[in-house]
C-alpha cells in the first residue's frame, strides 16, 4: 500500500470522485495549471481538462456563489478557497445562501457542494493565512463541517463529503499537509460524516480534539504514558457533532480535556463542555478543561508558537484535570 501525505490523499480522493462522477468539478484560484498553492490539485487539470478543473478569477464570493448555482442545477462542485482567512468575502454566500438552500425551498432545491479550505496555523504563513474559524460554520445550521487529522481519514471523509447531498465545508489543516505520511488504500472508500474516532482507549481522562491538534495531543500523551490512561477522540466531523462518542467516553472516564487552535471564548470547546455537563453531570470528577488558542487575533508567525496549544500546555492541562 502506498504511503501518502495529506496532500496526496486528498488529490487522490478528488481524482477518483471526478473519475466516478461526471458531475464533479473543481474551481478555485490557481488550482488548475498551478495545481493549487499547496499542490493539492496538482495534475488534475491536465487529466480532466480546464472545463472540469477551473482556474477561477480572484473572487471568493464568486467562487462560492457560482458553485451554489452549479449545485442547484445538478452539478457537484468542489470549490477551493485558498486560505481560511479569505472566507470572509464568501461568508454571505456560504451562510445565507448555501446553508439555507434546502430549508427555504422545503427541499425543492438542494446545494450539494464541498468547499475545501486549508486551515490553521503553524506553517509560518503571512497574516490571515493561519486562522481557525471552524466554529463560525459549526454555528450555521444547514452546513456540515469536517476537519480530518490525517491522510487516511482525509481521503475517506472527502469522498463522503463530495457524495453528501448537503453543503460541506472540508477544512484541511495546513500543518498536516506534508507532516504525516501513512498507508492509504489505492481504491476509493468512504468514512461516515458525523462520526468521531476513538484513537486510543483509556479510563482516566477523555481528550477531545480535531485537525492538526490531534497530532500535538498524541505527542503530549506520548510523554506521559505512566501518568494516566487517556482516551483520545478525534472528532473528524465538527458538525454534526458525534455527541454519543464524546459523552459515552466522558461518562466512563469522569474527566475531559478539549484541545483546539481556535480562540477559547465561544469556541467549539465551549459547546463540547456544555454537552458534557448536560450528559455526564453526575459522572464528572473535575471541570472540563479547555486548552485552546487565546481570545486574541492570530499573531504573525514570529509568535504563533506561543499562541498555538503545544505539548507542554496540553500536558499541564491534563495534569490539572487529573489532580482536581
Amino acid at each position: 500500500m502506498a504511503k501518502l501525505d495529506l496532500v496526496a490523499a486528498i488529490n487522490q480522493a478528488l481524482a477518483q470522485e471526478m473519475e466516478a462522477d461526471e458531475r464533479v468539478m473543481l474551481l478555485g484560484e490557481d488550482i488548475g495549471v498551478n495545481g493549487g498553492v499547496f499542490r493539492v490539485t496538482d495534475g488534475l487539470q491536465k487529466r480532466f481538462g480546464p472545463d472540469r478543473v477551473v482556474d477561477s478569477p480572484l473572487s471568493e464570493s464568486g467562487i462560492i456563489g457560482t458553485s451554489i448555482g452549479l449545485a442547484m442545477a445538478g452539478m457537484r462542485p468542489v470549490p477551493e478557497l485558498q486560505f481560511e482567512g479569505f472566507m470572509g468575502p464568501a461568508y454571505d454566500q456560504i451562510v445565507n445562501q448555501a446553508a439555507r438552500c434546502r430549508s427555504r425551498t422545503r427541499g425543492a432545491f438542494t446545494c450539494p457542494l464541498t468547499i475545501r479550505v486549508p486551515v490553521g496555523g503553524g506553517i509560518h504563513a503571512p497574516e490571515l493565512h493561519s486562522d481557525s474559524p471552524e466554529v463560525v460554520y459549526v454555528h450555521t445550521p444547514g452546513l456540515k463541517v469536517v476537519m480530518p487529522s490525517r491522510p487516511y481519514d482525509a481521503k475517506g471523509l472527502l469522498i463522503s463529503a463530495i457524495r453528501d447531498p448537503d453543503p460541506v465545508i472540508f477544512f484541511e489543516p495546513k500543518r498536516v499537509y506534508r507532516a504525516i505520511k501513512e498507508e492509504v488504500p489505492e481504491e476509493s472508500y468512504t468514512l461516515p460524516l458525523g462520526k468521531a474516532q476513538v484513537i486510543s482507549e483509556g479510563s482516566d481522562l477523555t481528550m477531545i480534539s480535531w485537525g492538526a491538534m490531534v497530532s500535538v495531543c498524541l505527542a503530549a500523551l506520548d510523554q506521559m504514558p505512566e501518568e494516566a490512561s487517556v482516551e483520545l477522540i478525534d472528532l473528524q466531523t465538527l458538525s454534526p457533532l458525534d455527541v454519543e462518542t464524546i459523552t459515552r467516553s466522558v461518562c466512563k472516564t469522569g474527566r475531559a480535556v478539549v484541545v483546539h487552535e481556535a480562540p477559547k471564548t465561544a469556541g467549539l470547546g465551549a459547546e463540547i463542555s456544555s454537552l458534557i455537563q448536560e450528559h455526564c453531570f453526575l459522572s464528572l470528577e473535575a471541570p472540563v478543561q479547555r486548552i485552546t488558542g487565546f481570545d486574541t487575533s492570530m499573531p504573525y508567525y514570529k509568535l504563533e508558537k506561543q499562541y498555538l496549544p503545544d505539548e507542554d500546555r496540553i500536558m499541564a492541562g491534563v495534569r490539572d484535570c487529573l489532580a482536581y
Binding site: 468539478m25 472545463d51 477561477s56 478569477p57 473572487s59 464570493s61 464568486g62 462560492i64 456563489g65 457560482t66 458553485s67 451554489i68 448555482g69 452549479l70 449545485a71 442547484m72 442545477a73 445538478g74 452539478m75 462542485p77 468575502p89 454571505d92 454566500q93 445565507n96 445562501q97 434546502r102 430549508s103 427555504r104 425551498t105 422545503r106 427541499g107 425543492a108 432545491f109 438542494t110 445550521p141 444547514g142 453528501d164 447531498p165 448537503d166 458525523g194 454534526p240 457533532l241 455527541v243 454519543e244 459523552t247 461518562c251 466512563k252 469522569g254 448536560e278 450528559h279 455526564c280 453531570f281 453526575l282 459522572s283 464528572l284 470528577e285 473535575a286 487529573l322 489532580a323 482536581y324
Partner: protein
C-alpha cells in the same frame, strides 16, 4: 508612440412603443403579434390586480411585508415572453411576479412567500426558475452557476437573471458579470432600473450615465431599453437570449422603468420621493401605454377592458383562497428540510418542540449512568 484610443463604445437605447401608444412599425416587425400584445396586456391587468390585492392583504393583516411590483409589468412580461417555458431559466429577485407567472409559476406561490411560508419557494422542478431572492445581488452568481451547468452539459438553455439598480453596487454583481464573461456562459443580466433602491435614487447609486455601460467593462454586449415598452423589452431580451443560446455568451440589459409603489408595504416613499416625479411616472404607466396601442389598432375596447378586469379579480380572489386555505405547516418542517438526513441532535430538538418547548428534553440529560466516584485521584468536586 502617440496616445491613441484603444477602446471606445456607445450605449444604445431602444424604444419601439412610445408613451402615447404609437409604435415604430419597422422596429416592431418580427417582435410581438397582435395576439401576443393582447395576451400580455391581459396578463398586465391580472398582475396589477394581484399586486393591489396583495397590498390590501398586508394592510388588513392577512399577509406580511410585500414589495409591490406595479409599474414594472412591461419590463418583466416583455422579457419573459422571450423565454421558452420550462426550458429557459429565470433567476429573479423580488419584483418579477409577472415574469414568474408568465413562465408558469402558480400565483399563490408568491403570496405564500410573503405570508411567511417557505412552501412559496418550493418551485416545481419543471418550471425552470429559482425562488424569490430577498438578499440583493447574491442571485446574480447563482444565475451564472446555473448557466454554467447548462453549458457544461451542452443543454440548449439560457438563463435570465433579474436585479435592480441597487444590486449593481454589490460586489456579487460585479463578480457575476466577470465570471459570466470569462466563462462565456448563456446568461442574460436584466437590470430593472426602477430609479429607486428604497430611498436611494439611482443617481446616488452610481456616477455613470447609464447602468448599461457597466457591462462594457466586462466585454459584454449591452443595451438600454425603455422598460415600460413591451415591444422593446421583448426585442432586446429575445436578441440576448438567442445570442446566449447560440454560444455567444452573456449580455446585459438595462430596463429603464419606474417603481410606482413604495419599496415595500413597510416603506413610505413620500418621505423621500418628490410627488411630481411619481405623478409624471404615472403618466407613462406601461399598462396605459399598452392599452393606448391596442385601442389605436382597434384591438381593444371598454367592454373587453371590463371583462378582463372582472376576470382578473376572479382569478386573484381564487388565488388568495388557495394561499389562505393551505393546511398549516407542521413544526416538524422547521427541522425536516435542514439536511437530507436529520442529525441526532436535531432529531432530539424536533422532539422537544413537540413536547415541552424548552429546547432541551430533560429525559435526554444524564442518560448515561453515573460512574462510581474516583477516589484514587484528586478530590471530589464537592469536597472542601
Amino acid at each position: 508612440m502617440p496616445k491613441e484610443v484603444v477602446y471606445s463604445a456607445q450605449i444604445e437605447r431602444l424604444q419601439i412603443l412610445g408613451p402615447d401608444g404609437s409604435v415604430d412599425e419597422s422596429l416592431a416587425q418580427g417582435t410581438l403579434s397582435d395576439g401576443d400584445v393582447k395576451y400580455l396586456y391581459e396578463q398586465m391587468i391580472l398582475c396589477r390586480e394581484f399586486d393591489e390585492a396583495a397590498f390590501k392583504l398586508q394592510r388588513s393583516g392577512r399577509m406580511g411585508t410585500f414589495p409591490q411590483n406595479k409599474g414594472q409589468e412591461a419590463a418583466t412580461l416583455g422579457a419573459a415572453k422571450a423565454l421558452r417555458k420550462g426550458i429557459d431559466y429565470i433567476v429573479p429577485y423580488y419584483r418579477e411576479n409577472p415574469a414568474m407567472f408568465l413562465h408558469g409559476l402558480p400565483m399563490h406561490y408568491a403570496l405564500l412567500h410573503w405570508m411567511g411560508d417557505e412552501r412559496g419557494n418550493a418551485i416545481p422542478a419543471n418550471l425552470s426558475m429559482s425562488p424569490i431572492c430577498v438578499a440583493i445581488g447574491v442571485q446574480t452568481l447563482h444565475a451564472v452557476g446555473i448557466a454554467w451547468a447548462f453549458k457544461r452539459r451542452k443543454e440548449d438553455r439560457a438563463v435570465i437573471c433579474f436585479f435592480g439598480d441597487g444590486a449593481t453596487s454589490t460586489g456579487d454583481f460585479h463578480e457575476a458579470m466577470n465570471f459570466a464573461s470569462i466563462l462565456k456562459v448563456p446568461v442574460v443580466f436584466c437590470c430593472l432600473n426602477n430609479q429607486w433602491a428604497i430611498s436611494t435614487p439611482c443617481g446616488h447609486q452610481c456616477a455613470s450615465e447609464t447602468f448599461a455601460q457597466k457591462a462594457l467593462a466586462y466585454g459584454m454586449p449591452t443595451i438600454q431599453a425603455d422598460g415600460n415598452d413591451l415591444f422593446a423589452m421583448y426585442k432586446v431580451t429575445n436578441d440576448a437570449m438567442e445570442r446566449a443560446r447560440a454560444g455567444g455568451g452573456p449580455s446585459f440589459i438595462e430596463a429603464v422603468t419606474y417603481r410606482l409603489g413604495d419599496h415595500t408595504t413597510a416603506d413610505d416613499a413620500r418621505r423621500y420621493r418628490p410627488a411630481a416625479q411619481l405623478e409624471s411616472a404615472l403618466k407613462v404607466d406601461p399598462i396605459i401605454r399598452t392599452r393606448k396601442y391596442l385601442e389605436a389598432k382597434n384591438l381593444w375596447d371598454a367592454t373587453q377592458q371590463a371583462a378582463a378586469e372582472k376576470k382578473a379579480k376572479g382569478i386573484v380572489h381564487d388565488v388568495i383562497g388557495v394561499a389562505e386555505k393551505m393546511p398549516p405547516q407542521s413544526s416538524d418542517d422547521i427541522f425536516d428540510y435542514m439536511y437530507a438526513d436529520l442529525p441526532p441532535e436535531l432529531q432530539k430538538q424536533k422532539q422537544t418542540l413537540r413536547t415541552d418547548s424548552i429546547g432541551m428534553d430533560p429525559t435526554q440529560v444524564g442518560l448515561q449512568p453515573p460512574r462510581e466516584r474516583d477516589t484514587t485521584r484528586g478530590k471530589p468536586m464537592n469536597a472542601e
